[in-house]
């Protein structure tokens, strides 16, 4: 079996953390939770870390795939239900990330370009990556990791240079913070992809620390960038939808080098491609578990057709994307990425204890 090593897994974990958290999310969170949005991040990231802990626990205890584990212990129906939920979750994440990036580019760079341009860029590349083995995906992420890291450091430092004020904290109550967290929880839950590839990850004793380390570093980057954004735009943060780009935009034409915020554009492009590829690969994996007689080609065709229909018929603009992200999706996401895995693991452990293992 073509597996990936723990470093490649950690790098994918690092990449997946960013999703739309550094682009659209800071502004959306500010609308409900003001400067306390930072706490929304902390709450959601706590869930993510809990998810990672569950994964490490499972990986240490069992060597088989998550699907065969659920199938053996909780029955085939449980496995199918669980994987269908995950499949839909990964699909929704793909739509969300694509739409956020699409709107961002359409607004700022590709003003006169048609939507077809984005599809012919994103779908073939992500399809190819999802069609390749998980190892190829892991290795590709590994190659881009140094670039992502350097650009992230650059963006973070530059964003901090643009800070000119400190927003007032504790202007909203805990209720708003929780409400904002729940409303945008669909932007989190990315670590759940690890469960899908459980059997394809080489894992030795002590490797859990490496996963925690990479995840925490990524979270730290997200938090720093969010804080820099709130400190840069303070009370008008909700008016600036593209956080990382706009924070860097405050330091325009640095040293005659031109618009350095374009560095953030390159970062967003790389991250979007790789994140979409990881989600799509996860979708394909779930599809093949749910429909064992169909291969990845069918999974990709199903994905592409549904994706095109959803993106071009249902949600094409920022308002619809926000509506989509804030209405049904959060509750569905919370159930599929957190509650269901949690319950599954509790049942697994309980059953094991009952069997005396």
């Amino acid at each position: 079996m073509k597996s990936v090593n723990v470093y490649q897994t950690a790098i994918m974990l690092f990449i997946i953390v960013f999703a739309n958290k550094i682009l659209l999310l800071p502004s959306l969170l500010y609308r409900t939770a003001s400067a306390e949005s930072v706490f929304c991040y902390l709450i959601a990231f706590t869930l993510e870390i809990l998810l990672l802990t569950l994964f490490i626990f499972l990986k240490r205890k069992y060597s088989t795939s998550f699907s065969s584990l659920i199938k053996a212990k909780l029955g085939k129906i449980s496995m199918v239900v669980f994987y269908v939920l995950l499949m839909i979750f990964f699909f929704c994440k793909c739509v969300l990330i694509y739409n956020v990036t699409y709107i961002f580019f359409k607004d700022l760079i590709y003003k006169n370009s048609g939507s077809f341009l984005f599809i012919i860029c994103f779908l073939p590349i992500t399809n190819y990556l999802a069609f390749s083995s998980f190892r190829v995906l892991g290795r590709t992420c590994q190659i881009f990791f140094p670039i992502i890291l350097v650009v992230l450091i650059f963006c973070t430092v530059t964003s901090l240079v643009g800070v000119n004020d400190i927003p007032l904290f504790f202007t909203t109550g805990a209720g708003d913070v929780f409400l904002a967290t729940i409303k945008h929880i669909s932007s989190f839950g990315d670590f759940v992809f690890l469960f899908v590839f459980m059997d394809k990850i080489e894992f030795k004793a002590g490797d859990g620390k490496k996963l925690y380390f990479f995840a925490l570093i990524a979270i730290l980057f997200v938090l720093t960038l969010a804080v820099a954004f709130y400190f840069s735009y303070t009370y008008t943060s909700f008016m600036h939808p593209y956080a990382i780009f706009e924070t860097m935009g405050k330091v325009k034409d640095y040293g005659g080098l031109g618009r350095i915020d374009s560095v953030a554009v390159v970062l967003v492009i790389i991250l979007t491609y790789l994140q979409m590829a990881i989600y799509l690969k996860s979708f394909v994996c779930c599809f093949c578990e749910v429909f064992p007689k169909l291969n990845s080609t069918y999974a990709l065709i199903s994905f592409d057709l549904t994706f095109l229909a959803v993106v071009y018929l249902l949600i094409r603009n920022l308002e619809k994307t926000v509506l989509y992200a804030e209405s049904v999706l959060p509750y569905f996401s919370l159930i599929s990425f957190f509650l269901v895995p949690l319950c599954a693991i509790i049942f697994l452990v309980a059953k094991d204890k009952k069997e005396g293992k």
């Binding site: 580019f105 341009l117 590994q142 190659i143 618009r259 492009i269 790389i270 491609y273």
Partner: protein
């Protein structure tokens, strides 16, 4: 069948070619027959070491004939091997006193002396290069290894050419499985002929139709020796100075012979520059066109004004302009390769000075476009071994940049890297040691560590002895 009839039969099988020569020696009723190609054998050796000594022999028994021949390259062969031996420059000897057949190798071929290969010139270090003669090439390798561990296995490939192919490796270092696999793949080749080592490449790789080179090649014995020491396997092919080495990883293309014969800090700097060069070559024109067409607001305002000033009179679109200059350069390159050297200089002058300068003055092309293409085309040759692949990709990225901008270029780059990541030959991931990341192999990666620090052999592929030095 008597000897004359045997020799007549062989001549018939060789279609009575003019250079097939036979001689018959008779003494006391015993006969000895000689048959050989006069164009491919040393007639002097035949006379002095074979014919004359045998003619002095009183009784022409098979043992006597064998003892009188003054040559070390003598062997008994079977009837089915007669033609092959004749074709390889041997004299085949028949005796009426015995059904046994002798073959004496007296092949004569004027091989050129080892000289510095034009593909890998060095400032310091050995200047010897392989030649077209496989025996000379084996000698050049043997000269570098006074160790019994250098193993050479030979076989012939090609139904018509029967080209000698030699697989060389260091016993106890190279992976036996790789050697076995290479031998198996070579034995399974079913083709008419092997004219050059390049002909073997598709049979040995996992992706024979790929744009990317998957087997290393070198004309220099010192490079091949270094690769053998790393645990790789070399394939020498008769009639070509190009020796193949495998397993191959793309990092090998970034390593230059000069890197190892100079200071490691300077070598590391050069490798870094080479890497920048390859990215400039690959993406330069594509990114320029993407910036000009889609993301012009990213450019510094002064530069934007310069570009706007210089391009407003140009009759072509930016894409056509860049494509035109790129094609012009490629045509000049092709012409200069095929023209005699005295005319090459003239084409350079015509191309660079007259066409470039006049093109700008005539308002057909803009100076920034000329600069971008020139930089990209020069940068191609920072790694000349990859120039073919880079040229193709340069055009592809140019088209992508013009059609979808930066989004497409980054996507294209991700695709190329994912594709390269999917290539694995003889257990070596193509992009190793970058992905998977192997710390020890990176000592000879983008930077070159001092030789004393390179204590292990590459871990990108399996070797039987990982330690190089204490």
């Amino acid at each position: 069948m008597n000897i004359s009839k045997k020799m007549e039969k062989i001549k018939k099988e060789l279609h009575y070619s003019f250079d097939v020569t036979s001689r018959l020696l008779t003494k006391n009723g015993d006969e000895v027959g000689f048959i050989y190609l006069k164009s491919f054998t040393d007639n002097l050796i035949f006379s002095s070491a074979i014919y004359e000594p045998i003619s002095k022999c009183e009784i022409l028994t098979f043992e006597n004939i064998k003892n009188f021949i003054q040559s070390n390259d003598i062997k008994e062969i079977k009837e089915g091997e007669i033609l092959e031996n004749i074709m390889k420059g041997a004299v085949v000897v028949f005796s009426s006193s015995s059904p046994k057949i002798l073959s004496i190798d007296i092949q004569k071929f004027n091989a050129r002396a080892p000289s510095e290969p034009p593909t890998a010139p060095v400032i310091q270090g050995p200047r010897e290069g392989f030649t077209e003669d496989i025996k000379t090439n084996i000698g050049l390798l043997r000269k570098r290894f006074f160790s019994p561990n250098l193993v050479l296995k030979n076989l012939s490939v090609g139904k018509e050419t029967k080209t000698t192919v030699v697989v060389a490796y260091l016993h106890g270092i190279a992976d036996r499985k790789v050697v076995k696999e290479v031998m198996k793949k070579l034995k399974n080749i079913d083709t008419d002929g092997v004219v050059d080592s390049y002909y073997l490449m598709p049979y040995l790789t996992s992706r024979p139709n790929s744009l990317f080179k998957q087997i290393g090649n070198s004309e220099k014995p010192d490079i091949v020796s270094a690769k053998l020491l790393e645990g790789r396997v070399a394939i020498l092919v008769d009639n070509t100075p190009m020796v193949l080495t495998l397993p191959f990883v793309i990092l090998e293309e970034m390593q230059n012979t000069n890197d190892y014969y100079t200071n490691y800090i300077y070598a590391s700097l050069l490798r870094f520059i080479r890497m920048i060069g390859i990215f400039l070559a690959l993406l330069g024109p594509g990114v320029y066109i993407a910036l000009q067409l889609f993301h012009y607001n990213v450019l510094p305002i002064k530069y934007l004004i310069t570009i706007a000033d210089s391009t407003q009179q140009i009759p072509f679109t930016p894409f056509i302009e860049i494509l035109f200059i790129s094609l012009l350069f490629q045509i000049l390159y092709e012409v200069s390769l095929r023209l005699p050297s005295y005319l090459g200089l003239a084409t350079s002058v015509v191309g660079a000075l007259i066409l470039g300068d006049t093109g700008v003055k005539a308002g057909l092309i803009s100076p920034p476009a000329v600069i971008v293409v020139a930089i990209a085309k020069i940068a191609l040759y920072t790694i000349p071994e990859q120039s073919a692949q880079t040229t193709v990709l340069q055009f592809i990225f140019l088209v992508i940049g013009a059609s979808v901008g930066l989004l497409g270029i980054v996507g294209g780059l991700i695709y190329v890297i994912a594709y390269l990541n999917s290539i694995e030959n003889f257990g070596a991931p193509y992009l190793a040691p970058f992905s998977p990341f192997i710390i020890s192999d990176n000592k000879d990666g983008v930077v070159r560590a001092p030789l004393l620090n390179m204590k292990t052999r590459p871990k990108s592929f399996h070797t039987e002895n990982i330690r190089r030095q204490k």
